[in-house]
């Protein structure tokens, strides 16, 4: 169970998150900044809710969105080339 991968983009396991919370007593947002869970290619669209759920379970922290730099996942990632055109 501890080897369960939460964030596949950055390969962050449940153990990594639990260790980080135990060591630094940190919030979900700080877990993101320390472990890079949710900062990968998909923009946290797959794992952010899992990270929030883990934090809710072990610390009782309620998932929120009021802090700047918190999760703002893209509805649909768009490459710059589709905005500016590509020859």
């Amino acid at each position: 169970m501890e080897k369960l991968v939460i964030c596949r983009c950055e390969e962050v396991t449940l153990a990594d998150i639990k260790d980080t919370v135990a060591k630094y007593e940190c919030s979900a947002r700080e877990v993101k900044l320390r472990t890079r869970a949710g900062m990968g290619y998909c923009g946290g669209r797959m794992c952010r809710t899992s990270v929030d759920a883990v934090l809710h379970e072990i610390k009782g922290e309620k998932p929120g969105n009021e802090i700047p730099l918190n999760i703002k996942p893209p509805v649909r990632p768009v490459s710059l080339s589709s905005l500016g055109g590509q020859s």
Binding site: R8, C9, E11, Y41, C42, R45, M46, P77, S79
Partner: protein, 134 residues
């Protein structure tokens, strides 16, 4: 090539669709019109679409609805194309994701050098305690 369900008790028989030839990592393979890249590769027995850029661990289809980007591949020199959503076209050149070089070398002597004065004085202290150098 076939890992496809040709006769299905509920869905019926697979229609004979137009065949499409494409290239995956220099191998020439065939799929059918209407396939996604992921389904065509799966029918050819290929489940590995890319490896993790740093660790090299294998990745394949995960969410299959275009959310997770685990199936991103390089198609006709465009990187980051989702295999699960992109329709297969004739003559597509598809490359799987490879392991990338690290931006910094893993471990050098410079990593052991103190970066702050606090680290430096701590190092001097521990050296004194060991009594190895005078």
């Amino acid at each position: 090539m076939n890992n496809r369900i040709v006769n299905h008790p509920v869905l019926g028989d697979l229609e004979n669709k137009k065949k499409i030839t494409f290239t995956y990592d220099q191998k020439t393979l065939q799929g059918y019109e209407g396939d996604t890249i992921a389904s065509a590769l799966l029918a050819n027995g290929i489940r590995l679409l890319r490896v993790h850029e740093e660790s090299g661990k294998p990745r394949g289809i995960y969410c299959n609805i275009g959310h997770c980007y685990e199936c991103r591949m390089t198609v006709n020199d465009t990187s980051g194309v989702r295999a699960c959503l992109t329709e297969l076209k004739e003559g597509m050149i598809i490359e799987s994701g490879k392991i990338q070089p690290l931006p910094f070398a893993r471990k050098t002597d410079a990593d052991d050098m103190p970066r702050t004065y606090a680290e430096f004085s701590k190092k001097c202290k521990s050296n004194k305690e060991e009594g190895s150098h005078v």
